[in-house]
Symmetry: C2
Subunit: 113 residues, 2 copies
Amino acid sequence: MTNVLHHPSKEDITLPAVLGALGDETRLAIVSILSRHGESERNVTCSYFLNLGSKTALSYHIAKLREAGIINVRPDGTKRLLSLRRGDLEARFPGFLASVLSAAPAADEEVDA
Amino acid sequence: MTNVLHHPSKEDITLPAVLGALGDETRLAIVSILSRHGESERNVTCSYFLNLGSKTALSYHIAKLREAGIINVRPDGTKRLLSLRRGDLEARFPGFLASVLSAAPAADEEVDA
DNA sequence: CTCGATGTTCAATGAATGTTGAACTATTAC
DNA sequence: GTAATAGTTCAACATTCATTGAACATCGAG
């Protein structure tokens, strides 16, 4: 059925949805870590965050971030490549993402490498 | 009992708490309206927001904003004067409040004046 | 002191949230 | 083909969240 992942268009990203999505430690950590991985999607998949929770929980959180318009999820084989929607967020809420990221917790990323 | 309203000190304001508090339409509207009322507390009391919900609901939301460190609540007689903690928020998360406020919904403030 | 106004507290309620494990789909490797 | 890998979906569950109405506390005015 809905095999296509829905992403809100830039203009459909709303502030309450973004704030709500980021108001969770796990999701904030995902975004923070994601921001430290260069521009495009680079080998950052869902399982990259398994240290933050079970794969079911991650699926849930990542869907929330996607539906809020914060991240992009692109299927690549059996994996999903994740990336921050920096441009869209900056266009929609100038300065917002930068201020959040600069204040985001150090995010002791302990990754299963 | 605890007749004194607790406000977190500047350094105890955390990003997840702030994001969580702002991830609610009613509270975002309160903050938005509050930001449009000059610097200090100026005749802006809890009942100023009665168009946004019942007084019980407002008491709840205003307490949330206070506990998150977003607003200051100063008792004045039987009223409480509300004000944004602009300085503390700016010191803690530079640029954050400005970016949120500039993107916040127009806040059709219909006040019982 | 009594009244009216401003808010808070409490218990109850329903909705939304986040987590889990099992089952499932889809792709890749062999 | 089978098996392994990567995620999703589902039902169940516990927790938190937001709202309501009733009762209460506090202050100012008269």
